[in-house]
């Protein structure tokens, strides 16, 4: 094996320019794929983080049918107190759960005594909400990063439109499930930066204030947002929780609760899937580049060395060894190109990280700075694909060489 390697490397250095061009092409492809996957991956992860950590959490539990009509924020589809308690007690027993936050979601009128508009509100336990949705506090651009009873956090678009400021007193008026209207006065405690996605322009009040506005005697929550310790286990835990709650049935014997992961709740999931699809296509392009370039080089190598192949075959080299010799050349080309590509790719990604050059706007969020990171698994997969394709591309020329008739090969001019 060592001798095959030595001869293969020397043969590659015999045609320096061709080897340089081929390895450069492979390296360029690897750099491109690494760069693309790290930037798109970072974009995807950042967006998923934005979606889950500033609004919806990793997964949510609702009464069955609530999500289908979530735009209306139907109060008659809230969880009844027993079901809510059951869900909470179940979540407390799950080791995967980091925290959870029950919410009462409703729509109401927002009045500054001068002007009135509509608003979507979340009634929450602030300490639980801030733990479940850790980026929420960073969205408070003005005011205190806390929420007490009698206070409200309002979205910045609303604040700007209604000329409302921190400390202003406003009134929230809402219709409850029975159709009666009630109002309550709040002090504006903070202005919330908008976030792209569902719930990105909602206001927040204390959950007990929400109960008061809606005249609830017992807490009837709209949803439970859940944060788990390992984000990678979202789908597994969603299935687990769904199984645990499958026994909750209504009077008709149908399931009364349902669990939705962030993928089912956020339209960004489709964008994330599209990014993954594009990554696959980029990798396919890399495979094509490697396949064509290596095959071209190896066909040339076999053609130029026909007499040499005839000689080694004549002196008794077995066909399998001749095959191995050419496969080894393909392997070496692939490995050299991959190593160079990975090293340069990592340097470029490091520079991009340090410089903070890669910025983008997402919805109303401007100047988000991407921190591209190399996923070691992805790097290994890309490297393995390139090396495998390099050997595969060498197979046809190598087979041709190993099956060559020594007499014909020795006669070749």
């Amino acid at each position: 094996m060592g001798n095959l390697f030595k001869i293969s490397v020397r043969n590659l250095f015999r045609y320096k320019r061709r080897t340089f061009l081929t390895t450069s092409l492979i390296a360029f492809g690897v750099i491109f794929v690494l760069g693309y996957t790290s930037i798109s991956g970072s974009f995807k992860n950042m967006m998923i983080g934005q979606v889950t950590d500033s609004m919806i959490g990793h997964l949510q539990v609702h009464r069955k049918g609530y999500v289908a009509s979530i735009e209306n924020l139907p109060l008659n589809m809230n969880l009844n107190p027993q079901a809510a308690r059951k869900v909470e007690s179940l979540l407390k027993l799950q080791p995967e759960v980091e925290d959870y936050s029950p919410r009462i979601k409703f729509g109401g009128m927002f009045s500054t005594f001068v002007e009135t508009t509509n608003i979507r509100l979340n009634g929450v336990y602030p300490e639980k909400e801030f733990k479940t949705i850790p980026l929420l506090s960073s969205r408070i651009t003005d005011g205190r990063k806390t929420l007490h009873r009698g206070e409200i956090l309002i979205p910045e678009l609303l604040a700007r439109g209604m000329k409302a400021k921190i400390g202003d007193m406003i009134v929230i008026v809402a219709t409850n499930q029975d159709g009666s209207v009630n109002g309550k006065q709040f002090e504006i405690a903070g202005i919330l930066e908008s976030a792209t996605g569902p719930g990105g322009r909602d206001g927040y009040i204390h959950i007990e204030d929400a109960m008061e506005v809606l005249r609830m005697e017992e807490m009837e929550i709209s949803e439970v947002a859940i944060r788990i310790k390992d984000f990678g286990q979202v789908e597994t835990f969603t299935r687990k929780l769904d199984g645990l709650l499958s026994g909750e049935v209504n009077r008709q014997g149908a399931r009364s609760l349902e669990v939705h992961s962030w993928q089912q709740l956020s339209p960004f999931y489709n964008i994330a899937r599209m990014i993954d699809m594009m990554t696959i296509f980029i990798q396919l392009m890399l495979i094509a580049v490697v396949l064509i370039s290596i095959m071209n080089v190896m066909i040339m190598a076999v053609y130029e060395r026909i007499r040499e192949i005839g000689t080694i075959a004549a002196i008794g080299t077995l066909p399998m060894k001749i095959l191995s010799m050419f496969l080894m050349e393909g392997l070496c080309l692939g490995v050299i190109g991959t190593v160079i590509g990975n090293v340069i790719g990592m340097v470029i990604i490091f520079i991009l990280n340090v410089s903070g050059w890669v910025t983008f706007d997402f919805g109303r969020q401007k100047g988000l700075v991407l921190s591209p990171t190399v996923d070691p698994v992805n790097m290994l997969v890309v490297s393995a694909i390139v090396i495998f394709v390099s050997v595969f591309a060498s197979l046809q020329p190598a087979l041709k060489a190993s099956r060559m008739d020594p007499i014909q090969a020795l006669r070749h001019v």
Binding site: I7, R307, G310, T311, A314, I315, P319, L410
Partner: protein
């Protein structure tokens, strides 16, 4: 037992509709440790005979045994293994591997064909380098040595596996007279030193005289045999 036994061997090549008879019922036997030459004009069948003896090709008809083995019945893989074990080759154009040094070219068959341990490889290669007078050139590449030196290396490479038989197709065709004689003398020396049978083809009348037995070929037939020190003109 004779090293090579050829009995009524014919070889035909077919190119499209045309059939070319390269050999027509040739028979001869070659003893071990002999120095034999095939002589004849172009197209007389010299190279075909060497290819058949060297298991690079198969006869269309007849019997062909090398070292007691019916080589006509060997598969492609068996032929390669047989060549690696029993036969060495010297080519007209030397055919050294350009990416390997003189030392590595001689070592190549031991590595790739016989897979010998490194100490034994080193001993054999060093000994042959001394024998062919190339010890001081061992680290040079083929493009750094002369044609005569290349053929010396080729002789060493052919002998390094301790073959019973070395086949050389026009080994001096690309060399000047002086170098050609030097190479032939080297081959004779190796034959005497190692007891190896050398069979070579040539149409250089001057070096034909160096062979112990000369077979004359014309139109695929053996037309004459000359044994050094024996009588002329009796076909086998």
């Amino acid at each position: 037992m004779k090293l090579i036994q050829v009995k009524n061997v014919s070889k035909e090549y077919r190119t499209g509709e045309i059939t070319v008879k390269a050999l027509r019922g040739v028979s001869f036997e070659i003893e071990r440790a002999s120095f034999v030459s095939f002589v004849g004009p172009s197209g007389s069948g010299k190279t075909t005979i060497l290819n058949l003896i060297g298991c690079l090709d198969k006869p269309t008809e007849g019997e062909l045994k090398v070292s007691g083995t019916d080589v006509a019945g060997l598969s492609r893989k068996e032929s390669a293994a047989f060549r690696g074990k029993h036969i060495g080759f010297i080519f007209q154009d030397f055919n050294l591997m350009p990416v390997l040094t003189v030392y590595e070219n001689i070592e190549y068959p031991l590595l790739m064909v016989q897979s010998l341990p490194s100490t034994e490889r080193k001993d054999r290669v060093e000994k042959l380098l001394e024998e062919v007078g190339m010890a001081d050139q061992k680290n040079k590449y083929p493009d750094q040595i002369s044609g005569g030196q290349k053929q010396r290396v080729a002789v060493a490479r052919a002998l390094v596996t301790n073959p019973e038989l070395v086949l050389a197709d026009e080994p001096t065709a690309n060399l000047d007279s002086e170098t050609a004689y030097a190479v032939i003398n080297l081959m004779k020396k190796m034959k005497d030193g190692f007891g190896t049978t050398f069979v070579f083809s040539t149409h250089d009348q001057k070096i034909v005289g160096e062979a112990e037995i000369v077979y004359f070929l014309a139109d695929g037939k053996l037309v004459d045999e000359k044994v050094k020190g024996g009588k002329n003109g009796q076909p086998v």
